[in-house]
């Protein structure tokens, strides 16, 4: 029983091993001895990616609680991409910010393990554990620059609210367990489907509390308030990492739970998520308008993007599921690119993430400015970038289920968001003042990472067919 059923966990196993190796290497590392820790991490991630690809269509399960269906494998690949890009960008910023590389990479890898597990777990308890693993790791990453009060403060806020929210989540799990007698998604689903329990208050309590827990991780209004602070306080790279990875994992679990075992109750939870999604899109964009710190601005923007993702979830149809997957990929590449640029422009002393710091960037760093512009346009949903196709896909799903209102709110809010994305462009191109203080010269490695994500963004924008088909194949197998 054991032997055969390891397959499903191989991806996360690779990552976990990489994490352990990095940790050991760090512990055996002599003082200021250079070690290619980032390389190790990337190797592990690539292994995970390869494993995910090999597992394609195998639909393997392990221990009855972990599945490797295409859906989760797609998410895995996204996470692998997130991880690799993060490592690449980190390689430059770690030394600059005096961050202990070994622990950093190890914890990041473990976080990815948690994320992957969130996508693959089919048991509420495991999901909870995965969520905690991911969260705690990310708390640590957020506060890793402990000499900075902001960093620690952000980490603590994130941590406290996270613990608070996850206890709600856990309470929800408890109620579902109490009613259905199990934490296994399939069992819960079958029980709910068997005797229609949609009226049962305890089930409703459970569903409601689960919504709270997931929405918190997705940073959906009104459970979003941690994210601007956490994003601003964390190192830019980490912000990029959590704004993409955490969201991806949380959404994956969200989709799996609500569209598989809680599918029968869609009539119960769709209205709630409709409101949450709408509120998220609106607030994320509207409040973003007033921001002057880029990290904070993008924090709000990522709140808004969480709203778009939820719109796909509300739609609840196959298009929606595929759209969410596509959106995750597009958003991950774009946002990581953007945060990569921010990270590269920072210095040890200050993050240089204020709008004014970007004045005349086109003069001082034309390449960065151009790259940043592409990412911003993609975030704003302009063709021919990934952002446009992704938005179209999600709204198409929403409209397909008749949620015209949601789609209209979405497109209008995206117009508002364009305003603040363009503010950055204005600063970079249209105001003539050199960005200062000047950051350290940017390594080719970092450029490679940025170009990589740019290529991804444009590929998803111009030739999305392959990925769209891929996404559709991913959702076809499981739900």
């Amino acid at each position: 029983m054991i032997s055969s059923s390891f397959d499903a966990i191989i991806p996360m196993l690779c990552v976990a091993l990489a994490g352990l190796v990095v940790l050991l290497a760090e512990s055996f590392r002599g003082r200021d001895e250079k070690m290619p820790l980032g390389g190790l991490a990337i190797i592990g991630l690539i292994g995970a990616g390869a494993a995910s690809i090999l597992l394609w269509n195998r639909n393997a399960t392990s221990f009855g609680v972990v599945t490797a269906d295409n859906f989760s494998l797609f998410v895995n690949l996204v996470l692998v991409a997130v991880g690799i890009l993060t490592v690449i960008f980190s390689s430059q910023t770690l030394d600059r910010d005096k961050i202990p590389a070994g622990e950093y990479y190890a914890i990041m890898l473990f976080a990815i393990v948690g994320m992957m597990l969130m996508g693959q777990a089919t048991d509420l308890l495991v999901i909870f554990l995965a969520l905690e693993t991911m969260s705690i790791a990310v708390y640590v990453l957020t506060g890793i620059r402990r000499e900075q009060q902001q960093s620690t403060e952000a980490a603590f806020k994130y941590f406290l609210l996270g613990a608070f929210a996850s206890s709600f989540f856990l309470y929800g799990v408890a109620f579902l367990y109490g009613v259905t007698g199990s934490t296994n998604l399939d069992r819960i689903g079958s029980v709910i489907a068997a005797q229609s329990m949609s009226g049962n208050p305890m089930i409703l309590l459970g569903v409601g509390l689960l919504i709270v827990g997931f929405s918190f991780k997705v940073a959906a209004v009104p459970f979003h308030m941690w994210s601007p602070d956490a994003y601003e306080g964390a190192p830019a790279v980490v912000t990029g990492f959590m704004s993409t990875g955490v969201k991806a994992a949380a959404v994956a679990a969200f989709v799996r739970v609500f569209l598989s075992s809680l599918e029968p109750m869609i009539a119960e939870w769709a209205p709630v998520l409709w409101v949450i999604a709408a509120a998220t899109m609106i607030l994320g964009t509207v409040v973003g308008v007033a921001q002057t710190s880029l990290k904070r601005m993008l924090a709000y923007s990522s709140i808004a993007h969480g709203g778009y993702l939820l719109a796909g979830l509300v739609a609840g149809n196959d298009v929606g599921k595929a759209a969410i997957l596509f959106y995750l990929a597009a958003y991950a590449l774009t946002n990581l690119g953007a945060f990569g640029v921010i990270a590269l422009l920072g210095t040890r002393e200050r993050a240089n993430d204020d709008l004014r710091d970007y004045a005349g960037l086109f003069k001082s760093h034309p390449a960065l400015a151009v790259l940043m512009t592409f990412f911003l346009l993609s975030l704003g949903g302009f063709p021919p970038t990934a952002g446009f196709i992704a938005k179209w896909y999600v709204f198409s799903a929403a409209i397909g289920s008749g949620y015209y209102g949601l789609a209209i709110i979405g497109v209008l809010s995206s117009v508002v968001s364009v305003f603040f994305y363009l503010r950055i462009v204005v600063m970079m191109f249209m105001t003539d003042r050199d960005a200062r203080p000047v950051p350290a010269p940017i390594t080719t490695m970092a450029y490679a990472g940025l170009v990589l994500s740019l290529i991804g963004v444009l590929y998803l924008g111009v030739l999305p067919t392959a990925v769209i088909d891929f996404a559709q194949a991913s959702i076809s197998t499981i739900f």
């Binding site: 208050p201 409601g208 459970f223 308030m225 602070d229 709630v272 509207v286 007033a290 921001q291």
Partner: protein
């Protein structure tokens, strides 16, 4: 072949416009005049071949190409020569060439560039004017119609550095546009009604329609067209641009604002005679407007002091006559007067031009007088023309004017007839006031007495040349002028030639239309008659269902004007009007030659009336106050600064401000306190549960 008539001047325009400024004046002027003369000869040949045709099928058509096609609407760029347009092209090319010749010497003081520009404009004008009269459908005519407007705009504003000139030019164009507004609507209605714009086809179709006793579509069409005509032909209420148009060089005033362009409206009515005949109501309006204009302009002309303005008002008044005729349905008479008027009014203008030329830009008749002995040729031609316009028997004006008055009386409009007679009295009076003040009496022009300072001459000369450009339109009388008593040279050869020819014309032109009462045969009337009824014998009928009508029309026009049994009446009327003419002349002689104190006394006695007339009934001021200024102010303050910026754009920006305002408020919720954040999570949870439990 036909197309060459307009195209020749156009070629002249092209040459002069492109390379004119590099050519010597002789070449440019010569070329311009040459093309005009050529096209005159061509026109003559064409008319000759036209005359060779049987009267009812006198039409020469030439379709150049299909101009516009849109669905079932298709329009050719086609020319048509018939009896009516024949008269017009002769007048245009003939008088046009004369005026070109005249100008070669009149404009000689201009710079090469300006000289070339002048002649290129003049050629262009002739081109458009010919298009106007030759166009076989409304739109081609409209092309010419607007084109001549454009040229008049350019030529009025020829001295563009002069504010008054460019103002006048703009005014002319815009006032004309107001007419065009109606004209376009009229032609649109024509298309919708007849589904074509070809004059003949329309006429044939219109024939079949009942004469509208009540105000119907035809009345509306014709009324709209007529409004267009009032703009072009300076009738009430749109005549205001013509007096100002005198800012242009005098030959321009002669050609455009006396002989040809301003008569386009009359021609247009003649062109659509059938339509108008079917719309008696419109005809009434035309007649009344014409008469009113004639009278009003006459009264104004009585007191004006600018030689050219007097002539301008006289032009307006004479145009009123023509419209009166048209309104009577006496289209022949109208065109007849148009032709004669072209001769003597052109002559008068050119004469005045000669005077101004002699006086180096002086236009105020109060500063003239006694010029008779200085410039005899000008004097005699001027007098002949004045006699002609005054309507003294035997000269051109007499015949045409009489025919109009007779027709008016005949159609039982005694009042209008009275107005006409009164107007002719005024005409005679102000014309001879002009003659006397200009040529007779003691010289009042600058330096007439101060023979001493002759050595100022060259300087003064130079000064005058400039003066014409920069002088205000009313040179201030009290201003001490330093003009030297240079020998006032009479019109140079080219000018003299033109003057003399025109003078002869204004004597003889009348004899083409000697009424039957005087044993004549009114040849012109007979010649024109077929043009005023729809005959399509000349051209293959395009629209099939009209073919039947076509055959029926190839008989001689049955209702010929001037029936024999009215001979006595006609004779008596002639007597009246000739008496009136002599009376007018006498009155003028008495007042402005013998008893010069009386006018002054009258001016003071009826100062109110005098001022009113002097200021042209304050029409310009009224328009300005009631229309121009309000529109300006409303647009400036109301629409733009008020509505557009504050309301419309305010709403747009307001949306932006609203969003950012909300944003600023909302971000304050993010107050940094972890408890607040927890509270929002908690509240969210509670709300969701509440939703589930209370549902």
């Amino acid at each position: 072949m036909l197309a060459l008539i307009p195209l020749l001047p156009f070629a002249g325009f092209l040459v002069n416009a492109t390379m004119g400024r590099r050519l010597p004046k002789a070449v440019t002027g010569g070329l311009a005049s040459a093309v005009m003369v050529l096209s005159f000869l061509l026109a003559a040949m064409q008319v000759w071949s036209l005359a060779a045709m049987p009267p009812e099928s006198r039409q020469i058509n030439q379709t150049l190409f299909t101009w516009i096609t849109a669905g079932d609407f298709s329009l050719d760029l086609a020319l048509r020569l018939d009896a009516l347009s024949a008269v017009m092209i002769l007048v245009i090319t003939g008088i046009g060439s004369l005026i070109h010749i005249y100008s070669t010497s009149y404009m000689h003081e201009e710079s090469d560039e300006a000289f070339a520009r002048f002649f290129s404009y003049l050629n262009l004008f002739c081109f458009f004017m010919l298009m106007l009269v030759l166009g076989s459908n409304v739109l081609v005519m409209f092309v010419g119609w607007e084109g001549v407007g454009l040229c008049s705009y350019l030529l009025i504003g020829f001295y563009y550095e002069k504010k008054s000139a460019s103002d006048a030019a703009k005014k002319a164009f815009i006032v004309n546009r107001i007419g065009d507004f109606a004209f376009i609507l009229g032609s649109l209605l024509l298309v919708v009604t007849f589904n074509t714009l070809d004059f003949t086809t329309i006429a044939l179709a219109a024939k079949e329609l009942p004469v509208e006793v009540t105000f119907g579509t035809l009345s509306l069409i014709t009324l709209l067209l007529f409004i267009g005509a009032t703009g072009k032909s300076a009738q009430i209420p749109l005549y205001v641009w013509l007096p100002d148009a005198m800012e242009g060089p005098t030959p321009v005033s002669a050609l455009i604002h006396a002989a040809t362009m301003v008569t386009a409206g009359v021609y247009m009515i003649g062109r659509n005679a059938v339509l108008f005949e079917h719309a008696p109501i419109t005809l009434q309006i035309v007649a009344v407007v014409g008469a009113a204009t004639a009278l009003m302009a006459g009264t104004i002309g009585l007191v004006q002091n600018d030689i050219k303005r007097v002539l301008a008002y006289s032009t307006v008044s004479q145009l009123g006559y023509m419209f009166l005729a048209m309104g009577m349905g006496a289209f022949g008479a109208g065109i007849f007067h148009l032709m004669t008027h072209a001769f003597f009014k052109a002559c008068l203008f050119l004469g005045s031009g000669a005077v101004i030329h002699a006086l180096h830009g002086e236009q105020d008749i109060r500063k003239m007088g006694g010029l008779k002995k200085h410039i005899p040729i000008t004097y005699w031609t001027f007098v002949i023309a004045s006699v002609a316009i005054a309507g003294v028997p035997g000269l051109a004006g007499f015949f045409s004017k009489d025919e109009i008055l007779f027709e008016t009386f005949l159609h039982g409009h005694q009042i209008l007839w009275g107005v006409g007679v009164l107007t002719s009295l005024l005409t005679a009076t102000y014309m001879f006031r002009l003659v006397h003040l200009t040529f007779h009496g003691e010289p009042r022009f600058a330096g007439a007495h101060g023979a001493a300072d002759s050595h100022h001459a060259p300087a003064a000369h130079a000064a005058h040349a400039r003066d014409r450009h920069h002088a205000e339109e009313h040179a201030d009388p009290v201003h001490p002028t330093t003009h030297a008593p240079v020998h006032l040279h009479d019109a140079p050869a080219p000018m003299a030639f033109a003057l003399i020819v025109l003078a002869i014309g204004s004597v003889l032109a009348g004899y083409v239309g000697v009424p039957h009462a005087l044993g004549g045969h009114n040849n012109l009337g007979a010649w024109l008659e077929p043009a005023f009824q729809a005959t399509n014998c000349g051209q293959p009928v395009t629209t099939g269902e009209l073919a039947g009508i076509a055959i029926a029309d190839c008989l001689p026009g049955e209702e010929a004007v001037g029936a024999e049994d009215h001979t006595s009446l006609e004779l008596s009327l002639m007597a009246v009007s000739s008496l009136v003419a002599f009376a007018g002349i006498g009155l003028a002689t008495f007042l402005w030659l013998k008893r010069k104190d009386i006018p002054a006394q009258m001016a003071t006695q009826f100062s109110g009336v005098h001022k009113l007339l002097l200021n042209k009934y304050y029409v310009d001021e009224v328009y300005d106050a009631t229309i121009v200024q309000p529109i300006k102010v409303v647009s400036q303050e109301g629409l733009w600064r008020g509505f557009d910026v504050k309301v419309v754009d305010g709403a747009v920006n307001g949306a932006g401000y609203f969003v950012s305002g909300v944003s600023i408020v909302l971000r304050l919720l993010q107050n940094g306190s972890v408890k607040t954040y927890a509270a929002s999570i908690f509240a969210g949870a509670v709300a969701i549960l509440a939703f589930y439990l209370w549902r």
